[in-house]
């Protein structure tokens, strides 16, 4: 019996705005017990709770502050917008979401 229902898998995907086909959901559901079992190996390390989590490879001291005078060259708006699928004037167009 799997620890993961189809609804749980769909919920994880939905939170990322990803839809799954029936086959994709089935594939992921079948693998998820193995994945969770594998992840449990992380919790088998002695004294793990006492260790400070590490988010980056090594300590990086960032001390440089950018100067307010350091201004990049302006990029023309038509170039910035050229990859957008729909444009109105200087704006990227999306469906209306309020009133």
């Amino acid at each position: 019996m799997s620890n993961f229902t189809e609804e749980m898998i769909d919920d994880y995907a939905n939170k990322l705005l990803i839809g799954l086909t029936l086959e994709e959901r089935k594939m992921i559901q079948q693998e998820f017990d193995d994945i969770e079992h594998s992840m449990e190996l992380i919790n088998k390390i002695d004294g793990i709770k006492d260790v400070e989590p590490q988010s980056y490879p090594f300590e990086m001291e960032i001390t440089d502050l950018r100067s307010d005078d350091d201004v990049d060259e302006e990029i023309p708006i038509d170039i910035l917008l050229r990859n957008a699928g729909s444009v109105e004037g200087r704006e990227v167009e999306v469906p209306k979401v309020v009133g």
Binding site: I9, Y12, A13, K15, L16, L17, I18, G19, L20, T21, E23, E24, M27, I28, E31, F32, I35, S38, M39, E40, L41, I42, N43, K44, I45, D46, I48, K49, V51, E52, P53, Q54, S55, Y56, P57, F58, M60, I62, R66, D70, I75, I79, L80, R82, N83, A84, G85, S86, V92, V94, P95, V97
Partner: protein, 483 residues
């Protein structure tokens, strides 16, 4: 001509035996010649032209660019349908730096979708075939870069490495794959996968060429706060074979054959070959010792990687909406459009990775999986750093043998070999400089060995690789199937 290294090509250009234009045209033709067999390229830049040949070693010489890097006015897809029409208005910093040195990009190479795979089989333009045997994988994700460099169409190509994506393909394709210290090269303009692990790297056919290429790319970048000042490091100029007295270690639990219950013949040969490489190290004055690492810590390596990349990747993909760039999805609200874009655009395997990320970031799982994975990361990095106090680096076989079959039913799936298969991820956990060089053949296919050293000690790591390469016979080799 293209089978030569950067220094030789530079000399040919300077002596006017060939022009940069001719060299670039020759490279573009060679790209077309191998495309049908290997499927290495998303885009071949047919209108690329030569540049002025200066005293810069890279000037006038063609190279390949993994399609994970933004290139100004040139399609940059990440090998994903979510970016299949994206044409950036800027160059990634590493590409811009190479351009300043006069290098000429001639092709954008196929990768596993957005860098999230290790087989070279998940790019939106299809499977990449290994030029040593077209039925075999190249590994990934820098699949097309590895295949094309091994095929000899240019001396080097850009890669990126989040787990082993430069160093594993190098092993499978019989070439050099160098991942410098984290932050040595700016990641600006590279589609992000897992930002605390992502590193720009290079694939080449010699250590010398890898050093020259990274010299041309590295440096501080105000667009990437993780870059650090490496202006006092000159990789190419520092190359020498003076390695007498250097000390390396290997991990006994994964390198000694007696630790495997039912090893395959390939694994036996691979580890025997590794022992021969140790003897070669000793022949040039490098001592190599076996050390033990807690088995529980080693077993936690891959799950830790899986949790960290999943969490970071699922956060990083937030900008893939299909609204500002990428093909638009259908829907009556922005959320519906984004969901349609992602649902249609991502392949099943990458969706699986994102779902893992979503799972570990659920409130109830954050402590148990995400934070504990980051704690294991610290323990692994602490262990490696303590070893690097006494050793110049770690020596390790790359993978469990030669390239795997594209038909996965022909591959060996021994769970005992998972740690060996994934061990190079240590290099990303600690941001260590790490380089793969070819060290032999098994069943007529190349295999590799890796050297990983301490943070910012790239010169030392490259020198060990440079000296070792010199006492083996695999420098500058070109893949047989397409030769």
């Amino acid at each position: 001509m293209l089978e030569k290294g950067i220094k030789e090509l530079h000399d040919e250009l300077k002596s006017k035996k060939i022009t940069s234009d001719e060299l670039v045209k020759e490279s573009i033709k060679a790209c077309h010649d191998i495309q049908e067999k290997t499927n290495s390229f998303v885009t071949i830049i047919d209108d690329a032209t030569g540049t002025e040949v200066t005293d810069e070693l890279l000037s006038g010489i063609p190279y390949g660019i993994k399609d994970i890097f933004s290139t100004k006015d040139i399609l940059s897809t990440g090998s994903s349908n979510t970016l299949n029409n994206y044409v950036p208005f800027f160059d990634a910093t590493c590409v811009a730096n190479l351009k300043k040195h006069g290098a000429v990009g001639v092709a954008k190479t196929v990768l596993d979708e957005l860098g999230m795979g290790g087989t070279g089989t998940t790019g939106h333009t299809g499977i990449v075939h290994n030029p040593w045997d077209l039925e075999r994988q190249t590994a990934g994700s820098s699949a097309g870069s590895a295949a094309s460099v091994a095929a000899g169409v240019y001396p080097y190509a850009l890669g990126s490495d989040t787990g082993d994506s430069v160093r594993k393909p190098a092993g499978y394709c019989g070439i050099v794959g160098y991942k410098p210290t984290y932050g040595m090269i700016s990641r600006y303009g590279m589609f992000q996968f897992a930002s605390s692990l992502d590193t720009v790297g290079v694939l080449s056919r010699s250590v010398e060429d890898a050093a020259i290429a990274v010299d041309g790319m590295k440096g501080l970048d105000k667009h990437d706060m993780t870059t650090w000042d490496s202006s006092n490091i000159h990789l190419y100029e520092s190359l020498n074979k003076d390695v007498k007295g250097k000390k390396l270690f290997y991990i006994k639990e994964i390198c000694d054959i007696e630790n495997y219950k039912n090893p395959s013949e390939e694994l036996k040969e691979h580890l025997n070959n590794f022992k021969d490489t140790i003897k070669k190290c000793e022949s040039i004055g490098i001592s190599v010792e076996g050390v033990s690492i807690d088995r529980n810590l080693l077993n936690a390596l891959y799950p830790t990687y899986m949790v960290i990349y999943g969490a970071e990747a699922s956060s990083n993909m937030a900008n893939l909406t299909g609204i500002s760039f990428g093909p638009r999805g259908e829907g009556s609200t922005p959320d519906e459009m984004i969901k349609d874009h992602r649902t249609k655009g991502f392949s099943p395997l990458i969706k699986r990775r994102f779902v893992i990320g979503s799972f570990v970031l659920q409130r109830e799982n954050q402590e148990k999986f995400f934070l504990n994975a980051k704690r294991v990361r610290r323990l692994i990095v602490n262990k490696m750093n303590s070893l690097f106090e006494n050793y110049d680096g770690m020596l390790c076989p790359v993978g469990t043998g030669p390239a795997k079959y594209l038909d996965d039913s022909k591959n060996n799936h021994d769970k005992d070999t998972v740690v060996l298969e994934e061990i190079l991820q240590i290099g990303n956990f600690g941001g260590y400089p790490s380089i793969t060089i070819p060290n032999g053949f098994i069943n007529n296919l190349p295999v590799g060995v890796n050297i990983t050293g301490k943070v910012k000690d790239d010169v030392n790591v490259l020198n060990i690789a440079y000296a070792l390469e010199d006492v083996m016979d695999y420098k500058n080799q070109i893949a047989r199937e397409v030769k």
